[in-house]
Symmetry: C2
Subunit: 251 residues, 2 copies
DNA sequence: TATTGACATTAACGTTACGTAATAGTTTAA
DNA sequence: TTAAACTATTACGTAACGTTAATGTCAATA
C-alpha cells in the first residue's frame, strides 16, 4: 500500500504539514519521491509513524524519539525511564505551583475581605460622624471607636474555622444573590433569603447589628462606585437590587 | 535608589537580557533613560518587577501578567483562578502521561524478558537437539517439548506478584554481578552469590535446573553476541566473568 | 593620558513543533 | 476545457529569553 502525504496524514490523524516537517528534520522520510515530486510512503513508514506518534503521545521530544527509534530495545527502555524521571519532576514542580497558586488565591481573597473591612470601618465612622452632628459627641464617638476596635479585633482574631465559614457564607450569599437578581423581584423569597445571608455576613464584621446600619450599608453599595463594581461582578444591577431587597427585609 | 540593568538584574535574580526583554514588550519600562542611553530603574520598577516575578513563578505567561498587574484586585483574582484551572488540567494530563509511560516501561521490560525467554527456549531446543544426536530421540524430544511447553506456561501465567519478584531479582542479580565484575575474581564470595542469584533467575524460566544447563547457558552468553551485548551493558566483560564464575559454582 | 576591563546599547539568530499563508505546478473529475 | 483538489517549496509567527556580534561608555590604572 502506498500513500501520499494527505492520505497518510488522514490515516494517522496528523496534518500533512507534520509529515513534511518530519521529513525535513529527517525523522520520517518517504520511501521514494515520485516523478512529479510527490512524497510516497510505504508500509514501513506507516509503522514507523505509528511508533513516532506513540512516543509523541508520551511527551517525548522529537529528536529523542529519533534516537529511541534507531536505538535497540534496551536504549529505548532507558530513554523512556529518563523521560519518566523528567515527568515525575515536572509533576512535583506542578504540585508546588498549584499549592502556591491556591495559597495566593486564598490570600488575595483574604485581602479583598480586608479591603472591604476597611471600607466598612470607613462607613461606620461616617455613620458615627453623622450621628455626632445630629446628637452630641463624646458618648457616640466613644461608642463608635469601640465598635471599630472590636470589629478590628473580631476580624483579625478570626480562627481558621471561622474564616472558612466566612468563605462558605460569602459563596452562598453570592450565589443566592445572583439567582435572586435573575428572578428580578426584591420581595421574592430568594431575595429575602439573600438579605438574611447578608445580615449574617455583616455580623462577621459587625459586633452589633441594626436595621438602620443594614439599610445604610446597602445604600452605600449603590452610591460608592468601588462597592458597586464589586457587586456588579456578581450580577448586573445587583447593588440596587440588594438595597431594595434589604429595604423590604428591614420593614 | 536608582538601578542600572545589571544592578536591578542582580537584585532580582534575573538576567539583564530579561529586563531588556520586559522593556521591549512593554511589561516593565525604566523610569527614565540617562543621557548616555542607559536604562535607569527606580523603586516603583523594583516593586513591579517583584510582582512580575511572583506571577512568573506561578507559571503565568507574561502577557497575562501584564493584564493582571494593570487590572484591579478582583480581576487579578479571577485571572489567577483561571490560571489555577489550567494548572489542574495540566496536572491531570501529566498524571495520564506518567501512567502511560510507566505502563509502557513495564511492557518493554516484559518484552525484553519475553525476548530472552525465546532465546532460552531456543537454547533449550538446541540442548535437546544435541542430546538427541547423542542419545536416542523420541523420549528426549518429548521431554524437551514438554519442558518448553511448561516454560511457556510458566512465564505466561506468571502472577503480578511473581512478575514483581522476577523484576526485583533481576535488579539484584544485575547489581551483584556488576559489583562482582568490578572486583574481578570469579571465585569471590560476591561472584558466587551472583551465580546463586542467576540460578534462581533461571528457575523463573526453567522448570528443571541442571548444572550442565547452567554452564551451557552462560557459555551461550559468551558465544551469542545478542546475549553478550545484553550482559556487556551491565559491566564490561560480564558474560565471560559469569561463565567462569558459574563454572566454579557448578564444580 | 592612554589604555584596559567592566559595563552599556541595539540587532539578529536560535530554540520547539508545527500552523498558516503565499506562490506555483499537477492531477482528476465534470 | 476548466475548475477543484491535490502537490511542492519558502518563509513568517509562536514564548521567553540565551547567545553572539558589533559598538559605545565609564572608572580605574600604568
Amino acid at each position: 500500500m502506498e500513500y501520499t502525504v494527505s492520505k497518510l496524514a488522514e490515516l494517522a490523524g496528523v496534518s500533512p504539514r507534520t509529515l513534511r516537517y518530519y521529513d525535513e528534520i529527517g525523522l520520517l522520510s518517504p520511501t521514494r519521491i515520485s516523478s512529479n515530486g510527490y512524497r510516497i510512503y510505504g508500509q514501513k513508514e506507516v509503522d514507523r509513524l505509528q511508533q513516532i506518534l506513540f512516543y509523541r503521545e508520551l511527551g517525548v521530544p522529537l529528536d529523542e524519539i529519533g534516537r529511541v527509534l534507531t536505538a535497540k530495545n534496551f536504549d529505548g527502555l532507558s530513554a523512556l525511564q529518563n523521560h519518566l524521571a523528567g515527568l515525575l519532576e515536572r509533576r512535583e514542580q506542578l504540585e508546588l505551583l498549584i499549592a502556591n497558586v491556591e495559597k495566593t488565591i486564598k490570600a488575595m481573597k483574604g485581602e479583598i475581605i480586608m479591603t472591604d473591612k476597611e471600607k466598612f470601618e470607613g462607613f461606620l465612622k461616617k455613620m458615627v460622624d453623622d450621628n455626632e452632628r445630629q446628637y452630641g459627641e463624646e458618648i457616640r464617638k466613644k461608642y463608635g471607636e469601640e465598635t471599630v476596635k472590636r470589629s478590628n479585633a473580631k476580624v483579625l482574631n478570626m480562627s481558621k474555622e471561622q474564616y472558612a465559614a466566612l468563605e462558605k457564607l460569602t459563596k452562598e450569599l453570592n450565589e443566592t444573590l445572583k439567582k435572586a437578581v435573575d428572578k428580578g423581584d426584591p420581595g421574592s423569597e430568594l431575595a429575602q433569603k439573600a438579605c438574611e445571608l447578608h445580615k449574617k455576613w455583616l455580623c462577621f464584621y459587625w459586633d452589633k447589628y441594626s436595621k438602620e446600619a443594614h439599610i445604610g450599608v446597602t445604600q452605600m453599595y449603590v452610591d460608592d462606585p468601588r462597592f458597586s463594581e464589586y457587586y456588579e461582578r456578581i450580577a448586573p444591577g445587583c447593588a440596587v437590587f440588594l438595597r431594595d431587597a434589604v429595604a423590604i427585609y428591614c420593614q
